[in-house]
Symmetry: C2
Subunit: 195 residues, 2 copies
DNA sequence: TGAATAGATGCAGTCAATGTAGTAATGTGA
DNA sequence: TCACATTACTACATTGACTGCATCTATTCA
């Protein structure tokens, strides 16, 4: 019952923030304004979100755990590139099913694509995801000696997919088209790496 | 003669900063401290560097202009992936010749690989570079209709190369080895894309 | 020499983010 | 029903990056 109150404040903050961002832009909006609009203290804002960026992107997660699990449950006969390909494919499906499908309001996408701070935030998450996937791969393929090669492969994969997504979104593609673009990009990298 | 004074202050600031970062870490060091150590006012610091990040990475540029020029001077018979490959190859040579070769002190590399703020800074530059390269490619290949495909290709290329560099650096490779790793990564992506 | 220019400064102010201490409501156990 | 603890939230103060503005001073050049 306390939970509800908390989630309500959280959502009020998000709503207030997005609305203000839409009207005045991201940088022109201060945390104090958001808090005021949501009728809470500035301090409370940071109780719900670690940074100003998080209020936009908080639940725009990329399900890395899923990928890691897939990699760790690899079949003994699957090659490293194959496993990576499946993992990425599943991540794409996940994103398609949640973030892209359920709206992910235009404002947010717009912000994500235009505000440098938010782009940096996203890339940071992406980099983190890359690292964790590389680690998982190395754990599952200890015989593969070359970290750098694995790193490069994963980097290529993620770079291709996110770049494709970004350009598709910027172009105004539908969620289905965006997903298709991501799959195509992943496919091209996978194809080449599996020889 | 004024120039000299200015460059001297700038370099004093860089030296003071790197030293302080090495001793106390990046976040624990304030701009005020750096300025004090360099015997200038805090305000002056921001006269030389737009942000605290820039003092570490200021001249660790990735020469995008070069890549753009190469792309724009493409031979009429060269395919898009080929031109991209040459452009990236040249960028790698450039980096190898300047940043990597001339020291690029260990402290800096260490900082770049560990401090979140600096990673974000780097990624921002990278994203910017990607965008400009994609734009250049589209200008030079107006007949290539699919922005998203080009975006994906460039994303894969940059992702592979930077990721390879990061892992090679983290492993403690020599500059030559790092360069080789970048080339190898670029080569693999290029190979696949040129069919 | 005198005027313009440009690097450097001090100061006040904005804004994100954190630490501290405290209030008030909501839960729980006796 | 009365302590009690927990917890969302608040007010206040502070740090630290960064900016705007007025000013000072040392070149540079006419």
């Amino acid at each position: 019952m306390r939970e509800r109150k908390k989630r309500r404040t959280r959502e009020t903050l998000i709503a207030a923030a997005v609305e203000l961002f839409r009207r005045q832009g991201y940088e022109a909006t201060t945390v104090a304004q958001i808090a005021a609009a949501a009728d809470v203290s500035t301090r409370t804002f940071f109780l719900h979100f670690p940074t100003k960026e998080d209020v936009v992107l908080a639940d725009a997660g990329m399900r890395v755990e899923l990928a890691v699990r897939i990699i760790e449950g690899r079949g003994a006969d699957e090659s490293l590139p194959d496993v990576l390909a499946t993992a990425v494919e599943r991540m794409i499906s996940e994103v398609a099913g949640s973030d892209l499908a359920t709206g992910m309001a235009d404002v947010r996408v717009e912000l994500m694509l235009t505000v440098p701070d938010l782009q940096a935030w996203m890339l940071r998450r992406l980099l983190d995801a890359q690292r964790r996937i590389v680690d998982a791969l190395r754990r599952s393929y200890p015989e593969e000696g070359d970290v750098v090669a694995v790193g490069a492969l994963v980097g290529a994969m993620m770079g291709a997919v996110t770049s494709a997504a970004a350009y598709a979104l910027r172009r105004g593609d539908t969620p289905e088209e965006v997903t298709a673009a991501m799959r195509a990009a992943a496919g091209r990298v996978a194809l080449s790496s599996s020889r």
